[in-house]
């Protein structure tokens, strides 16, 4: 893990370059701040547009409507970004968390055992409520991920127990469902991400649920910081990915 810089790298005296950077940045910031101040303070955004089309979106919450319907393409790519992060992290190294625990106080253990199921429930609630209030896949997923991380640091190593294939499927569930729905819409109603009006609500909840699950899993996987054992076919246990590179 990362350590703090050794003492010899700490700066003792003031570097003139740093002073220069400081004043330069201060100047630029002041300029930007001035621009913000002279900009029109009351400028309508897209709230009227959103309000006008909200009834066609299939959900009652404007933020969810923007996220999943009006700007659903953004969200699709965003889900891909998370997926990509897992890909990138897995490509770098093996998970280092496996096996390591250390002392866990019984209080923490008991607490987490109690808390985790509750957090799952909260996550599910958040996803469901996303269609009419604040909340949604990301909030739900974040809580789910939090629960997962809590369990991992409390000697409840559930992640290594998940076999490679189901884990992959779980991670890809959100992207797959989202992309399938988007393409399904293409065939059903003739446009990419054009939800059929009568099925919109259902499809959105479906996407949200799948994404929340994947996001939770993704966050936990990112926390572990590497691919699980068994992800590569010929990988030796504890190869560790270290050693001299050969290209």
């Amino acid at each position: 893990m990362l350590t703090t810089a050794p003492a010899k790298y700490r700066r003792k005296r003031i570097d003139p370059l740093v002073v220069l950077v400081f004043f330069l940045l201060a100047g630029v910031t002041a300029m930007l701040g001035r621009t913000i101040c002279i900009m029109p303070q009351q400028m309508p955004g897209l709230e009227n547009e959103v309000a006008r089309h909200l009834h066609n979106s299939g959900v009652a919450s404007p933020v969810t409507a923007v996220l999943l319907n009006f700007r659903g393409y953004d969200t699709l790519l965003e889900v891909m970004v998370l997926f990509l992060a897992v890909l990138g992290v897995w490509s770098l190294t093996r998970a280092t968390f496996v096996g390591y625990m250390g002392d866990v106080s019984p209080v923490q253990l008991a607490m987490v055992r109690l808390l985790a199921p509750f957090m799952f429930l909260v996550a599910a609630y958040l996803v469901w409520q996303g269609s009419h209030l604040a909340g949604g896949a990301f909030q739900g997923g974040a809580v789910l991920g939090g629960a997962g991380v809590l369990m991992l640091i409390t000697d409840l190593p559930w992640l290594p127990m998940v076999p490679a294939r189901p884990l992959r499927c779980g991670l890809a569930l959100g992207p797959v469902v989202f992309l399938s729905v988007a393409l399904g819409c293409l065939i059903w109603s003739g446009g990419f991400l054009v939800y059929p009006l009568q099925a919109a609500a259902f499809l959105l909840v479906l996407i949200e649920a799948a994404c929340a699950l994947s996001i939770g899993l993704t966050l936990a996987a990112l926390f572990v910081g590497g691919r699980p054992y068994g992800e590569l076919m010929e990988e030796q246990p504890y190869e560790g990915g270290s050693g001299q590179g050969d290209e």
Partner: protein, 108 residues
């Protein structure tokens, strides 16, 4: 009189500038990553402050959605950066980004 939205905007700007300063000045990787996170927080604060400024009490949901997306993107980048930083420390025992390490002169 300074409106709320302006206050948030300026705070966000200052956060951005602080992060940028740290990103340039600090040489430790972890600090750099943290600095970039502070920068992104600053940008998100500015972005979300634009949601409430129509003057008619209505709230613009689009910045909310954008901030959500932005946070997710930032989380992903940060995760990758952290793991990469760990790898860098593991393989070459470097926590500082400095000139000497940028060229692998051996060629092998």
């Amino acid at each position: 009189m300074m409106s709320t939205n302006l206050l948030y905007s300026l705070t966000g700007l200052v956060l951005f500038a602080l992060g940028l300063y740290a990103l340039i000045v600090c040489s430790h990787l972890l600090r750099k990553i943290l600095a970039s996170n502070i920068m992104s927080s600053g940008v998100f604060l500015m972005l979300v402050s634009t949601a409430y400024r129509a003057g008619n009490g209505k709230i613009d949901p689009v910045p909310h959605a954008m901030v959500l997306t932005g946070i997710v993107v930032s989380v992903s980048a940060t995760a990758l950066a952290l793991v990469l930083a760990c790898r860098v420390q593991e393989t070459s025992n470097v926590t500082l980004v400095r000139e000497e390490y940028q060229h692998d002169t051996s060629g092998a």
